[in-house]
């Protein structure tokens, strides 16, 4: 009992870390966290049929993110083997104009050599994200009780992710 809430906390932070992951190679373990056949994934009230489709979309079409956990509560529902978690957090996006692969929308400069056109930085420098303002986030997640014992395999039965507030000075449109 002592470490139960710690375990949930750790798992949610792990989920956030996966969402913030830039490298698609690292995401296979995240996919394994989802129950493969019947898990329900809803993002901003848009459903995804498969965890893989969601992760692929997130990876391909959403820029790098940074999630912060600000609120967590959960109930173990007796007799069902499941736990329902209510999570609050905030998330910000890389507004540098580059996607997760580091590609930006700049058209190649005709005949020019210096820089990639994205600023006066050393060409070899690894671009750093330019974090925008924070969005508010509410996440409901239903987990198999095995998660309380530290088992993260196929534990996510449902994942309902909603951005609940948005700053009007962000470049991102949601």
């Amino acid at each position: 009992m002592n470490s139960q809430s710690q375990t949930v906390d750790t798992f949610i932070k792990k989920v956030f870390a996966f969402l913030d992951e830039k490298d698609s190679q690292q995401l296979a373990p995240f996919l394994q966290c989802f129950e493969p056949t019947s898990s329900k994934i809803i993002v901003n009230a848009n459903p995804f049929a498969q965890p893989a489709v969601f992760l692929e979309t997130w990876q391909r079409a959403v820029v790098q993110t940074q999630h912060v956990l600000t609120g967590l509560d959960y109930h173990v529902i007796p007799g069902t083997g499941t736990t329902v978690c209510s999570v609050n957090g905030k998330v910000r996006f890389d507004e540098s104009g580059r996607d997760k692969q580091g590609q930006d929308a700049t058209a190649p400069e005709l005949g020019a050599v210096a820089g990639a056109g994205a600023g006066p930085r050393a060409p070899a420098a690894k671009p750093r994200p330019l974090w925008g303002p924070y969005f508010g986030l509410s996440l409901q997640i239903i987990l198999d009780d095995r998660v309380l014992n530290g088992d993260h395999n196929c534990v996510i039965y449902s994942f309902n992710y909603t951005m609940v507030y948005k700053p009007d000075d962000s470049l991102m449109s949601v």
Partner: protein, 586 residues
């Protein structure tokens, strides 16, 4: 003020207002103000308008300086047994000069504005005959003042919808004079600064992080364009710029993709149609009782049911619309089970209420509230889907409430195990002020199990956070018309009206109850298609349309492909929803 070209009367009125002169009348005390005004009008043929009493004076206005002068000639005229004394208070002089300039600038703005192209052409101001003849560009000092003044006036004119601005040929060396453009038109799309003398990046720097929608910029014939870093600096300053000096510098498709996320915010998600209706019924009835009589909700909870409240006190960025920047959570903090903030295992256990008695106690310890589900349906967002392990479903509601009164039980005073001494220490400097009532935002998740014609709540998780506008609320662009079209998902919340709750029980929520009374615009199908369909098929199309918001063509396609079976159609829709083009939706 109105567009004077569309409304010449308003223009005339405006002019008349600018010319009128303020006067005072003394020595009228034996009669009423109205009598005085009538008397003056009869006697002198001069009307005193907008008059009021100030001490022993009547203050009012006459139409112009001439009238004011002739009024002075009537000094000493006897009225109600006294001699009247007129005085001019507002000398038209300085005032009139300023207002004349305002009128001039306004008419100039409208002259240079094209509603068709949404363009404000402020090119070559120096050689504009109107401005030149009035001496507005005669000296350096007037020049530097005239543009900010113009921008200030323009920002007040709601009729000037400006997407493009031309500032070419203005001999600009820097942006000092025009930097206020960013305040007036932050969403400007096109800007032309060609044929000026801008030579330094530093000059452009004032616009960094401004003009986030700027798509096209023209700076030809400025010395700055020959700088080696010109292009990259401009790219850096304007993150959404696509065209610079008529050259495409960014791939617009890629830009769109980078600055948007494919999961567009929706207000509602319901796994099935029936679940949508029953969720809304449940939420409406639950919150009605929550606001009026929480004890009656106890019928929904069993000895195994759990409830807890978590406070997320993180303050949203100030750029979030209507965000409460200074929230206090005095009533809630002793109850909060936000596990990221509590370290004591014992506290974690204590703050989880299980069974009716414990739940009732926390309910009584929370401030009394009012939710606005009916009145402001657009402020709430709901997701509901099935939860097979409990043979029920979960409903999550995001929205806001207003605290209407202090809680029945003050948790600050009834915290268990609070020895007097500790309590005083704990509450050091703790006044009543932090407990002021306020608006809050919240997220609430119910796990619901249908049982014998009614429902039980297995789990009830409430998060309370500082008030903000919900992200799903559209920006002010068109707040209401959405509803009028009737396809809005708001309609299930709205037209239902408050259901008078006579029995203490919540309406039974049973999946499978037919949807009723949901307003939705029927699909408009081409007549030849419609003629071939039977009423059942039409009904099905409307149902699919309502659920999916697909347009007529795609609704028909979906129905046809699924063999006119609603469930198959919805399944197909959900599976492919992310691949359906945007144009397929209404």
């Amino acid at each position: 003020m109105q567009n004077m070209y569309q409304n010449p009367t308003a223009f005339a009125q405006q002019n008349a207002l600018e010319r009128r002169v303020k006067i005072s009348v003394k020595g009228w005390q034996n009669a009423t103000r109205q009598d005085l005004v009538s008397f003056v009008s009869r006697k002198t043929r001069i009307a005193i308008v907008d008059s009021s009493v100030e001490g022993n004076l009547v203050i009012g206005y006459v139409n112009n300086q001439n009238e004011a002068q002739s009024l002075l000639n009537w000094n000493g005229v006897r009225f109600a047994g006294n001699a009247l004394k007129f005085e001019i208070l507002g000398n038209g002089g300085g005032d009139a000069g300023t207002s004349k300039t305002i009128v001039l600038l306004k008419s100039f703005l409208f002259k240079r504005y094209s509603p068709q192209t949404k363009m404000l052409d402020l090119g070559n101001l120096r050689n504009d005959p109107d401005l030149a003849t009035n001496g507005l560009f005669s000296s350096q000092t007037t020049q530097s003042k005239i543009f900010p003044a113009m921008m200030k006036l323009a920002s007040k004119e709601s009729q000037l919808v400006v997407e493009s601005i031309n500032l070419s040929d203005n001999e600009l060396k820097d942006l000092n004079m025009i930097s206020c453009l960013a305040q007036t038109y932050p969403n400007l799309k096109n800007l032309c600064l060609a044929n000026n003398q801008i030579s330094r990046f530093r000059a452009l720097e004032v616009w960094k992080n401004k003009f986030k929608e700027l798509r096209e910029l023209l700076m030809m014939n400025n010395p700055i364009t020959t700088e080696p870093l010109y292009r990259s600096e401009v790219l850096r300053l304007f993150p959404r710029l696509v065209i610079l000096d008529n050259v495409v510098i960014r791939d617009e498709t890629k830009l769109q993709q980078v600055f948007s996320i494919p999961m567009k915010l929706q207000q509602f998600f319901f796994e099935t149609n029936d679940l949508g209706q029953s969720s809304i019924d449940f939420v409406t009835n639950f919150l009605t009782l929550w606001d009026t009589n929480r004890s009656q909700l106890m019928a929904l909870y069993t000895p195994q049911s759990q409830f807890s409240v978590a406070i997320d006190s993180s303050v949203p960025a100030s750029s979030v619309p209507n965000a409460d920047q200074n929230p206090t959570f005095g009533y809630y903090l002793p109850l909060s089970r936000n596990l990221t903030k509590i370290s004591s295992e014992r506290t974690k256990e204590q703050r989880l209420a299980m069974g009716q008695e414990a739940i009732d106690k926390i309910f009584k310890s929370l401030p009394k509230t009012k939710h606005f589900l009916q009145e402001q349906a657009s402020s709430y967002s709901v997701e509901a889907f099935s939860y097979p392990q409990v043979q029920g479903f979960t409903i999550t509601l995001h929205g806001f409430f207003e605290e209407s009164a202090a809680p029945e039980i003050d948790a600050n005073k009834s915290t268990p195990n609070s020895a007097g001494g500790r309590n005083r220490r704990f509450n050091h400097g703790h006044g009543n002020t932090p407990n002021k009532l306020a608006k809050r935002s919240f997220d609430r998740t119910w796990v619901i199990v249908p049982s014998q014609g009614t429902v039980i709540v297995a789990s009830d998780l409430l998060t309370i956070r500082p008030f903000v506008d919900g992200s799903w609320i559209p920006q002010q662009v068109q707040p209401e018309p959405v509803l009028a079209q009737g396809q809005s998902p708001l309609s299930p919340l709205g037209p239902q009206g408050v259901q008078p709750i006579t029995q203490p029980q919540i309406q039974p929520v049973i999946p499978g109850v037919p949807v009723q009374g949901v307003a939705v615009t029927p699909l408009i199908l081409p007549p030849d298609v419609q003629a071939k369909l039977n009423p059942l098929q039409l009904d099905l199309l409307n149902k699919i349309h309502q659920e999916t918001k697909l347009n007529a063509e795609f609704t028909y396609l979906l129905a046809d492909q699924s063999g006119w079976n609603f469930d198959v159609a919805m399944k197909g829709f959900r599976e492919s929803v992310n691949n359906i083009p945007r144009e397929a939706f209404v």
